[in-house]
Symmetry: C2
Subunit: 398 residues, 2 copies
């Protein structure tokens, strides 16, 4: 690797460790990575020790091993969670966690039976992770790792350097002082969240091609910027890049039709041309030009999986949006455009911890609804309509 | 990958699963691999499910993560064993285990402080593994995975195909029916072990250039072929390739000097020109042209680490020996030539489970002593001297 690329990798890892997870002296740092990401995993390990980690514990997930399990394994293997994975996950409490994402092969599971793919979930692991989210016991972040295969999915050719450029731009590595740039960026997003909270909205309405959806908010719904804090007082940025302000909707109040504006990587395949119909909060119809069955399978997971858990607003000044690329990866594509999630609500986005209308589920899937043509309005309790986004531009004065 | 290479990989994996570990229906198969070996790990996973595995649990160790820990981690990290690794290791009992070996970078740790490298050991994991060996509760095997970097170490160029050819020859993949070939091979080695046991030897003497060493045997020492059996009756072949018959020496009786005839990969570096001096069973002097400190560090591990735990006889008909190659890898090099190990005795090579003179240690390191010039004699209790090996040829009639 060239020296410049080496330096970029080290700076990226340092940003993930110092700003993203914000690793504290003496913490164990759990890194969840893939064999295709090993250069980044190693750089993160070095950066974490440099930040004072007591121990860095790297686990490589290989999607091909899961693929073989779904294809050849017995039925009982599908939902099996090894005890040691649960022990490792529980050890996360009080410590730091960094995940490297970026599907090297987003359609790897497309040749498998979607029903078996849908059942291949380590539900017990998801529950431990959701519990720690709720307790705010882990400072964590997710960062993407460019790979040649991912570049091929985006550009039609394995132009790894071009993907690195796009990722570096999206995470502000091009700035002279990326850490300071991130502080300013998070401050700006916090300002937006405060503006939205001051409006005391009762609902959000989305209108655009194929979309007319109104989603109710709870009295306790809280708009948040993507900065979180653990119970021990460590602030962290859960995703890099991140460009959203988001809240929890009332999962009993959503009516209309919504058309997704970008492809969605889901369960090892890609969903395209997705349109959902909602009635009284429930997704009652799923249409898609590709992958509708994957969505239907996931919506059947549990009682909350077919109801909404998150509304997120992203405008056109988003660094990810500026690249003009479809990344085929949620971490990026959800930060290029407004999105909505079905499944679990995000802890910290309601004033009361639990309550009627806050969705509970073991799944959480974001789908993109933003575009230049999307109009987003806030509907205030007093009947006022407040324009939030027009032509991808933020409408509230800062 | 070409179709022929694909088929070879699948046949190799099947051999490791069916003959090596001999995976039984319903077992969990724990695979310990490296990112550099992922094609083999995936093939082993498919083969294990085809053999009826309930679940295949693959863990990739990345030596670069350990390297970063030794270089940048705090002192307390060196000997730390995460709880989940112990839980996973204990779950091995009653199940199958397959390790892929073959150091992609045998001198990876050479730039580090040897004293820290020596201390970087998960002793608790080694103890669990040794316990399971003693209980015969795991059917396991180790197979090597050719990589371009390993090929470069052997041939001076990254000729992966040539290394695959050598490995395939060594593990009898060139045979029309490798499974039948292995059955015949193991039968032959068992015959040799029986001949040796019938001699009731009191000691073994090694003579050659730089070597004159006599090692005592115990009355309960048992010569064994490399086929083992679990308490539940599953027979398995712990190493592929394997060409040895071996026994446990009396760790109180070894006197003389022994010169190693091949380089030895140890603790992430390579030891060359090794000569050991022994008195009353104890290694009292270590000389080497490279890596002597690594050996000394390991010999200081515990009370038994500077005493012998295994004698193994290999003759020139060995498939590994026939290749004429130095593999810089113990699994191969120990099957090309007679070898001796310092450290723990191997369970099953004494008639009584424990007793005076059976060495106990948490390390076990084989070093090669065989060559065309080495003469190995058995010294019988009645004073007879029985030639065992001359010019690398087996001297006992079969």
């Amino acid at each position: 690797m060239a020296a410049a690329a080496d330096r970029r990798l080290e700076r990226y890892a340092e940003l993930a460790v110092r700003v993203g997870a914000n690793v504290a002296e003496g913490q164990t740092v759990f890194i969840s990575s893939e064999p295709a990401h090993l250069l980044l995993a190693r750089a993160l390990t070095r950066a974490a020790y440099a930040a004072g980690a007591a121990y860095v514990d790297v686990l490589y997930r290989d999607p091909h091993i899961r693929h073989a399990m779904v294809e050849y394994g017995p039925d009982a293997a599908l939902a099996y969670t090894p005890e040691w994975l649960k022990v490792r996950a529980r050890e996360g409490a009080g410590n730091a966690n960094i995940a490297t994402v970026g599907d090297a092969e987003p359609t790897l599971f497309a040749d498998l039976d979607p029903e078996r793919v849908g059942r291949a979930r380590m539900t017990e692991l998801a529950e431990i992770a959701l519990g720690q989210l709720g307790e705010h016991s882990v400072n964590w972040t997710a960062v993407a790792c460019p790979t040649a295969q991912w570049a091929e999915q985006i550009f039609g050719e394995p132009d790894l350097e071009r993907l690195w450029d796009a990722v570096a731009f999206a995470v502000r590595l091009d700035e002279a002082d990326p850490v300071a740039a991130w502080r300013g960026h998070i401050r700006e997003l916090k300002g937006r969240a405060e503006q939205l909270n001051a409006l005391h909205l009762d609902a959000v309405r989305y209108r655009g091609p194929g979309t007319d959806l109104t989603v109710g908010l709870l009295e306790c719904s809280l708009w948040r910027a993507p900065e979180d804090e653990t119970v021990s007082g460590i602030t962290f940025v859960p995703n890099m890049p991140t460009e959203e302000v988001f809240t929890t909707p009332d999962c009993r109040r959503a009516d209309g039709v919504v058309a997704s504006t970008r492809p969605l990587a889901l369960l090892g395949d890609v969903v395209e041309g997705l349109t959902l119909t909602l009635q009284a909060g429930l997704i009652v119809d799923v249409k898609a030009t590709r992958g509708a069955d994957l969505v239907r399978t996931q919506l059947e997971t549990d009682e909350g999986s077919a109801r909404l858990g998150e509304l997120a607003l992203v405008d056109g000044t988003s660094r990810v949006g500026e690249t003009g690329l479809t990344f085929w990866n949620t971490l990026f594509d959800e930060n290029a455009a407004c999105h909505i999630a079905w499944g679990a609500a995000i802890p910290g986005t309601v004033r009361d911890r639990e309550g009627d209308g806050v969705n509970v589920s073991s799944v959480h899937t974001d789908f993109m609804v933003g575009s230049d043509e999307l109009e987003v309005d806030g509907l205030a309790a007093d009947g006022r309509t407040v324009p939030l986004l027009r032509r991808n531009a933020w409408q509230l004065e800062s």
